[in-house]
Subunit: 316 residues, 2 copies
C-alpha cells in the first residue's frame, strides 16, 4: 500500500519540475476564524492545479517501452492538462478523451501541451470504453485521475511542502473529489506528524466519500450537480478509500453559495483567483464547519482553472 | 539624498511586519517574450499594494511627540490604506482626506484600519489645503504619497527582496505614478548591481515623468484620463525626480487596452488579480516596448485593489 515513503520519493521526482508553490496568509481570514491559516497556492502550480504533481509522478515511472507506447487519459478538467503537460515534458505521446462540449479553453490548453484530443458525445458515448479501446489498440497505459498509488503519492507532495514551510500544524484541510489529494495529503501529514487532523471537504450536492467513510464501504452516487466541476465524482477510488479509512479525521460539505462567497473573499482580500473546487477547503473554514479557533491550519487551494467569463459572473 | 543605505535600513524596519511577497514565473510569459521574467507580487502585500512599505517606513521614524500628534494623508487610492494600516500598527492617530465619491470599498477599508476619514468634494475643494489645515490645527505630520525620502526608501525594499530571490537580473521594470516606486527600485537595484537597467512604465494618457526626464526638468501635465487610477499623477516629485535623473534607464508608455489585455493574461495564465496600474510593467514587456529577449527581467506587480464588479467587467 502507498505510504509516506512514496510521497517523499515523489517529492524528489518532481523537484525542479513542478513549482514549489507559495504559501499565503491573510489577517482577514485569521481574524474571521480565530485561527492561523496558511493557504497552499496550487492554483499557481504548472497548468493551474495540483494535478500536475500526480500526473508527472505517474508518467516518470513508466519504463522505456511503456513510454514509447504512450498514455491515455479521460477528463474534461485539470487531469487532462496535467497528463498532457507531464507527457510533453517526458516526451511521451498522450491521448486525452474529452467531451465535445468541454470549454474551448480547456481543449486548446490540452492541445497546446501537444496531446492528441479525441472528442466524444457526453450523452451517448462512454469515455472509459473509448479510452480502453485506444489503450488496447496502441498498447498505451491508461492514467487514472486519482485511483492510483503513484497519482496519490504525487498529490501528497503539496502538503509535504506546506509543512516544510509552516512548521507544525494542528489541522490540514483539502478539497475532495475521488480522494487523490485527500489521501496523498493525509499520508504526507501523518508521515510528518501523526497527530495532525486531516479533513476533507466535498460539495453538498454529492458526498460520496463522506457516505463511504460513514458506511465503511465505497458508496456510488449520481453525478453531483455543483459548480465545483473538479469535485463531481461518484465514488472514492479503491486506493484512496483504503488510505482514507485509516487516516481521515472526517469530511464536511459546503454549498455552491459558500464556494462563491469564498471565491469572493479570496479575490477581494487575497487577490487570488481560484476555481470553485479550489475554494472548498477555505469555504469549510469560513463557514465554521470545522473547528479551527486557536489552531494552526494549513489548507490547499487546489486549482485556478476557470474561464474569464465564468469567473466574472461568479464574483460580480 | 536618499540612497541604498536607506533602502537597506527600511528593509530592516519592515522585516516581519510587511509580507515578503512571493516571486512568480510563467512559462507562457517567458515563451511570448523570449526572456526569463520574474513577477514580484506586491498585490499580495498587506493592504494589497506596495504602498504599505513606504508608509510604514515613514511612520516608524516619527518621534514620540510626532506620533502623539498623529498623521494626515490625502489619497483616494492605495496610499490612504497604506498610511491607515501603518498608523494602526504603530498606534498613531491617522486622518485621511478622501473624495466623497471614492469607492465605498476603499472608504470602508481605510476606516477598517482605524483611520478617521475626512470627505471632500472633488470638484469644489482642494484636498491638499484641507490636509494642511488639519495638520496645522493638530500639529500632525502630513505623509505625502511619494515625494519623501523615507517613502522612496520603503518602496525600494520590494526590488531588494526580488533580487535576493532571483539572483542577478539584467532589467528591472516598475509602474510609474509620481516615481516613488521607480526611484526606490532604482536605488535598490543599483545598490546591488549598478549595471541593471531600471525602466519605468507610465500610462499613454499621461507621461509626466517621461517628459520630465526628456526635458531635464519637472513637467506638470493635466490629470491623465486612464483606467490606471494609481498612475494619474501630474508631475514627478522633487525627491523622486532627482533620483531618476541619475538612475533611470528610460520610460515607456502603455495604453489602457494593453493594461486590460495584461490583466487578462495574468488572470488566465497566472491566476493573479492585479489592478490596472499594477499590470503596467508587464504590459510594457508583453507589448514589446522594452527589449527583453534573452534577458533576465524582474518586474513589480504593484497592487491588486480593484472592485469586484470592475474587475469582472475588465476581464469579461
Amino acid at each position: 500500500m502507498v505510504d509516506f515513503t512514496d510521497v517523499r520519493a515523489a517529492a524528489s521526482r518532481i523537484a525542479g519540475i513542478a513549482h514549489r508553490t507559495p504559501v499565503v496568509t491573510s489577517r482577514t481570514i485569521d481574524e474571521r476564524t480565530g485561527a492561523t491559516v496558511f493557504l497552499k497556492c496550487e492554483q499557481l502550480q504548472r497548468m493551474g492545479a495540483f494535478k500536475f504533481r500526480g500526473a508527472y509522478n505517474r508518467l516518470a515511472q513508466l519504463d522505456a517501452g511503456e513510454r514509447r507506447a504512450g498514455v491515455v487519459a479521460y477528463s474534461s478538467g485539470n487531469h487532462a492538462q496535467g497528463v498532457a503537460l507531464a507527457a510533453q515534458l517526458l516526451e511521451i505521446p498522450a491521448t486525452i478523451v474529452m467531451p465535445r462540449d468541454a470549454p474551448a479553453s480547456k481543449l486548446a490548453a490540452t492541445r497546446g501541451y501537444g496531446a492528441e484530443v479525441v472528442l466524444y458525445e457526453r450523452s451517448e458515448e462512454n469515455r472509459a470504453l473509448i479510452a480502453q479501446g485506444i489503450a488496447k489498440e496502441r498498447g498505451a497505459t491508461i492514467v487514472p485521475p486519482y485511483d492510483d498509488e503513484r497519482i496519490v503519492a504525487g498529490a501528497g507532495t503539496a502538503v509535504l511542502e506546506l509543512l516544510e514551510e509552516t512548521g507544525s500544524l494542528d489541522i490540514v484541510i483539502v478539497p475532495v473529489g475521488g480522494g487523490g489529494l485527500f489521501s496523498g495529503s493525509a499520508l504526507a501529514a501523518h508521515g510528518v506528524d501523526p497527530t495532525i487532523a486531516v479533513w476533507g471537504v466535498e460539495p453538498e450536492a454529492g458526498n460520496d466519500v463522506q457516505q463511504s467513510l460513514a458506511r465503511g464501504e465505497r458508496v456510488v452516487i449520481d453525478v453531483p450537480q455543483t459548480i465545483a466541476d473538479g469535485l463531481q465524482t461518484q465514488s472514492p477510488g479503491e486506493v484512496t478509500f483504503a488510505v482514507l479509512r485509516e487516516h481521515a479525521a472526517g469530511i464536511v460539505t459546503v454549498s455552491d453559495d459558500e464556494l462563491i462567497e469564498t471565491m469572493r473573499v479570496l479575490f477581494e482580500r487575497c487577490k487570488l483567483v481560484v476555481e470553485p473546487s479550489g475554494a472548498a477547503a477555505l469555504a469549510a473554514v469560513l463557514s465554521a464547519k470545522i473547528p479551527v479557533a486557536g489552531k494552526r491550519v494549513g489548507l490547499v487551494l487546489s486549482g485556478g482553472n476557470v474561464d474569464r467569463a465564468r469567473f466574472a459572473s461568479l464574483i460580480a
